[in-house]
């Protein structure tokens, strides 16, 4: 079956500095795929390249649409929600305003209120703070907010950039549990970039390992977990 997302020979550069040197990978619909790698390997750049936030060469296919050379705003409208590193919270707007903005690009306006309630169901703490300025939320709460905002789009594909960053392990477990559940019940495919390989491999079905802008290893999460090099370099045992 045709892949949901197919990336072929993707190059990306910040100005004159090339960061991605021909990345290729694919994602099936309904899967959770993780991109692993050390700091500076090019994982974040890959996600930004998918949303055309950096200059790219190479092909990016989302279903039957090509993403390269489209504006970020248009890519979002195709049903791709990006939870950026740093969370990208609108700090001067309230929690609820942040969530409503997540639904801005949706074609079906009906059901926004229902979806809002659903997000509050997943993350009751957000409901407590719904009228508060989002900048006053804790790191963990802002991460939940960022994920919820992305879900408000009712996306087909969610891109998550280091969702575990700066969060206590228990919170990460809670968050990843909700991601798994959303993936299964709402059929949202997810591409997760993570430095925390252990937790990412628990969550994902498939994994790609990126080193200095190239894919060096790919396979099911189970296989990757057993790979000796990965165990030693990224899992620490």
């Amino acid at each position: 079956m045709a892949a949901l997302l197919e990336v072929s020979n993707l190059h990306a550069a910040y100005g004159l500095t090339r960061v991605l040197h021909g990345i290729s990978f694919a994602m099936q619909e309904g899967s959770i795929t993780t991109l692993l790698g050390a700091n500076g390997a090019g994982k974040t750049t890959t996600l930004r390249a998918l949303c055309q936030m950096v200059k790219t060469e190479g092909e990016i296919r989302f279903g039957s649409e090509r993403l390269d050379r489209r504006a970020t705003e248009d890519i979002v409208r195709l049903g791709i929600a990006h939870v950026p590193d740093g969370r990208g919270t609108f700090v001067n707007l309230t929690t609820e305003e942040n969530l409503r903005l997540g639904a801005y690009a949706r074609k079906e306006r009906a059901g926004v209120d229902d979806d809002l309630e659903r997000m509050y169901g997943y993350f009751p703490r957000l409901k407590e703070r719904r009228a508060q300025q989002a900048g006053t939320l804790s790191g963990g709460e802002q991460q939940m907010l960022a994920v919820s905002r992305a879900l408000m789009l009712r996306p087909k594909l969610m891109l998550l950039d280091e969702p575990s960053f700066g969060l206590a392990p228990l919170i990460v477990k809670e968050l990843f549990g909700i991601l798994r559940s959303v993936n299964q019940t709402e059929k949202v495919s997810m591409l997760v970039v993570e430095q925390n390989a252990a937790m990412a491999l628990e969550l994902a079905d498939h994994a790609y390992l990126i080193e200095t802008g190239r894919v060096v290893l790919s396979g099911t999460a189970a296989d990757i977990k057993r790979d000796d090099n990965v165990r030693r370099s990224y899992l620490g045992y």
Binding site: C51, M53, A71, T72, E73, V76, R77, A81, H82, P84, G88, T89, F90, V91, N92, L93, E97, R100, L101, G102, Y104, A105, R149, L153
Partner: protein, 289 residues
């Protein structure tokens, strides 16, 4: 005491106009971090459009509304055509472009309408309703200012488009990630600013008479108001406007004389910039080195 009260009330009336212009300035600053030096001339140009419509026989309020619409369009066009190409250019280039805009608007108006002073009608009856304290036009101007401010508040707070505009101004990158077309939001912001400026121009023209150079001093007061209130704070701009209006009038009438009133604006601007750049209500901006 009477004279003092009169000056305060008159100050509130002109303060409303400063508040409107300051609000327009802050709106543009919030979304682009640019100071629109041409704001005054844009407002003046819109007022001349109104004058043309009224002189052609259109009754006041329809002309008013049509002018607001045309000013909006003008703002959008200016942003898309002239400002967009230099959004990320070095500061000097941007300043030069704004000055060029100022100069072109001023000279085109002078060319079309000549520099002779014209009268501009007030929609409010000339009989003083509030006795000797305030002319009806002054009261009306305050009223119009407040209506505009309330409408703007409602727009920004309760409509999806208003929310999108706020989001685009605060965090353009995140805004793109939720599908907001940031470029068009900027244009919308400029359109609104131009429309507000036009309303301010139409309220002040009956008082200072219509001439291509009428907005120079007023723009300065608006700058002072925006800075006093905090250049990234719309509420501050409004409060600042009323404060500056009253201060200008009271100082002018009782302390320094009318000729030096504009110097008050100069002192305020430099004072605020040096002593407390974020204004009374703004946020302190920390730039990373």
């Amino acid at each position: 005491m009477d004279a003092f009260l009169h000056q305060v009330l008159a100050g509130l009336a002109t303060g409303g106009i400063y508040a409107s212009l300051a609000l327009a300035l802050v709106m543009i600053y919030q979304s682009t971090h640019l100071v629109n030096f041409a704001q005054g001339e844009m407002a003046m140009f819109a007022t001349y459009i109104a004058w043309t419509l009224i002189n052609a026989g259109m009754p006041y309020w329809p002309a008013f509304l049509l002018t607001v619409l045309l000013a909006f369009v003008l703002g959008v066009v200016i942003e898309r055509v002239i400002i967009r190409p230099v959004e990320n250019a070095p500061v000097l280039a941007v300043v030069v472009i704004f000055i060029a805009l100022l100069v072109i608007l001023n000279s085109v108006t002078g060319w079309i309408y000549s520099y002779t002073i014209k009268t501009f009608p007030s929609p409010f009856p000339p009989e003083p309703i509030f006795g000797k304290y305030m002319s009806t036009h002054e009261a009306g101007a305050i009223g119009v200012t407040l209506v505009v401010l309330v409408l703007l508040y409602l727009f920004f707070r309760f409509t999806p488009l208003g929310l999108a505009l706020r989001a685009a101004a605060q965090n353009p990158d995140s805004a793109r990630l939720v599908g907001i077309r940031v470029g068009w939001m900027l244009a919308l912001g400029w359109g609104l600013a131009a429309a507000i400026g036009g309303i301010a121009g139409m309220m002040v023209a009956p008082i200072v008479y219509l001439d291509p150079n009428m907005m120079g001093g007023i723009l300065l007061y608006a700058f002072a108001a925006a800075l006093v209130g905090g250049i990234d704070n719309p509420w501050g701009a409004v409060a600042g406007g009323f404060m500056v209006g009253v201060l200008e009038n009271v100082l002018g009438a009782f302390v320094i004389g009318n000729e030096l009133k504009l110097v008050v604006a100069l002192v305020l601007i430099i004072g605020v910039l040096v002593v407390r750049p974020s204004g009374f209500f703004g946020k302190v901006l920390v730039t990373r080195v």
